[in-house]
């Protein structure tokens, strides 16, 4: 059997910890638990611990002096830790306008998946999506929990430019483009919410382990929220949960 987790150097400035377990909420909580332990234990070193679906990456600012020493310290840290509690999390409510003007591929999904527009919106706004991590672009959230019925292939030819705020589906993933960029996902709507603000000390309110619920807004409401967002009068609604 393969080691679990597998701890190995990734170049001179990184150590990768990969778990051979099913991707899901349980593994995410495990990752976040170990992430905190490592951060606390290594607070004197210049490093950052990040997670993805099944891995932790410890990235060091400087070249690691003693790679094997570091790996074995991490092995001890992880084997010695008992997962005691789940971490606290927030559930954010995110407005999305599913008007066909924004939802460029709604018709395509409607035909392919044999769903009415109303059904697409219902299916997309029903789940609480789990935030696994941020990657790809600053502020781009990797979310889990898309309804199987909404699953759809990416576009054969990616769009050269997808609008900032566009909400899309690619295979079994859904997400929001934090800024305009090329993209191959099927676009179903647009959110007026600012996902990443480089001018804030904490540029994004979302953390791995938090959850997101979409709610449908009209075009008028979309523009209203967008205005309020710009003038700083809109604050994201969220509920806190004890883990």
């Amino acid at each position: 059997m393969a080691e679990n987790p597998k701890i190995s150097p990734l170049g001179d400035r990184g150590i990768l910890i990969k778990f051979d377990e099913k991707v899901g909420e349980d593994l995410l909580h495990k990752l976040l638990f170990y992430k905190e332990i490592i951060q606390n234990a290594e607070s004197k070193q210049k490093l950052e611990v990040t997670n993805t679906y099944d891995s932790l990456l410890i990235s060091y600012v400087f070249t690691i002096e003693d790679v094997y020493g570091e790996v074995s310290r991490l092995e001890q840290l992880i084997s010695g830790a008992n997962i005691t509690k789940k971490t606290n999390y927030k559930t954010f409510s995110i407005p999305v306008c599913y008007d066909p003007e924004f939802g460029l591929d709604l018709e395509h999904i409607s035909e392919e998946n044999n769903l009415s527009l109303k059904q697409i919106i219902e299916l997309h706004t029903a789940p609480e999506y789990l935030i696994y991590f941020t990657g790809f672009l600053p502020g781009f959230l990797y979310l889990g929990g898309l309804d199987e019925k909404l699953k759809i292939s990416r576009k054969n030819t990616p769009r050269k430019s997808v609008e900032k705020g566009a909400v899309g589906i690619g295979e079994n993933q859904t997400g929001i483009y934090p800024k305009s960029s090329p993209g191959g996902w099927q676009i179903i709507g647009r959110s007026p919410v600012e996902l990443f603000d480089k001018n804030k000390a904490i540029p994004s309110p979302f953390s791995a382990g938090d959850k997101i619920k979409f709610f449908s807004v009209s075009k008028d409401e979309f523009y209203e929220i967008e205005e309020d967002m710009k003038s700083g009068n809109y604050s994201l609604k969220f509920e806190k949960h004890e883990g």
Partner: protein
């Protein structure tokens, strides 16, 4: 008066960089930072600066700059034929600059990226704890004509370390790039593994601070991986066989198999290679006394 240099000509692609941006990867923000850390460190050491003081990174064709206050500078990395007031000056040597002096560059002699270190470092403002320019994060991402770049006017106490600094310039031309096996290396068939370390590869024209692409392909049947962490120096293998070597401005996560990982020495050597040049990959191992 604020100590500033005016950009008379921007050159091909120049930007202000330091070690990079750390602590923001969790928001998907790239590390950025100088492509060639060695060149930055040597330039700063020769001036008595902190090793990580910000520098100007200049690619292939240097800019033309005019200083409004006296300072000392040191040019390292690639040799782009620097001239102060039309007189040739040496790389890897501290140079005294007077008010009104003009620095420009000429023909590239060797290497690809040159570094301008300045006494006390640049003073161009930090975003998320770093001065490194990156499009979308800092307000500027490349030098433009007419820009005025502030630098520290403070004199650094002269440190007599010159004699003890050994300067290695061979890496500027050495085409051998050090790599470690990456997380998905073992998934490659033996023939591919052998080929990686025995063939040589050409650098694509499209290469930049985000990634260096190789011309030759490696036909493969590897499945995409569950999106996972990547770092500068990660070599990704795409389904079409393209090898993409991630550099300092790379994304924080990726879904292609990570077949190899460059060492820091490998990254700085690759940073000095031009599109069209050829490289080979040298397999190294992690040692017990430091990474290398």
């Amino acid at each position: 008066m604020k100590a500033e240099m005016e950009v008379l000509q921007p050159g091909l692609f120049s930007s202000i960089q330091d070690l990079g941006r750390f602590g923001f990867q969790k928001y998907g923000v790239p590390q950025s930072g100088v492509m060639d850390r060695y060149a930055m460190r040597i330039g700063n050491l020769l001036l008595g600066n902190l090793q990580e003081a910000s520098v100007m990174e200049m690619t292939f064709q240097g800019p033309q700059l005019k200083f409004n206050s006296p300072t000392r500078i040191c040019i390292t990395g690639a040799d782009l034929s620097p001239q102060l007031n039309n007189e040739p000056v040496e790389n890897f040597e501290p140079i005294q600059v007077k008010e009104g002096d003009e620095l420009k560059f000429g023909r590239r002699k060797r290497g690809f990226r040159s570094y301008l270190a300045i006494e006390g470092g640049f003073d161009t403002g930090e975003v998320m704890g770093s001065q490194s320019w990156y499009e979308g994060i800092t307000s500027e991402f490349r030098l433009k004509k007419g820009m005025r770049l502030a630098y520290s006017a403070e004199q650094v106490s002269e440190i007599d370390t010159h004699s003890s600094i050994r300067i290695d310039m061979d890496y500027l031309e050495d085409g051998e790039i050090e790599v470690y096996p990456g997380p998905e290396f073992e998934l490659l068939p033996q023939t591919h593994r052998t080929r990686l370390f025995n063939a040589d590869f050409g650098i694509e024209d499209s290469s930049n601070r985000m990634a260096v692409q190789l011309k030759e392909t490696l036909q493969n049947e590897l499945e995409p991986i569950t999106t996972g962490p990547v770092l500068p120096g990660t070599i990704q293998l795409t389904p079409s066989g393209k090898m993409i070597i991630l550099m300092r401005d790379c994304q924080t996560t990726g879904g292609y198999p990570r077949i190899l990982q460059l060492s820091e020495t490998g990254i700085q050597a690759l940073a000095q290679k031009m599109p069209g040049e050829r490289i080979s990959l040298k397999n190294i191992n992690y040692t017990h006394n430091g990474a290398k």
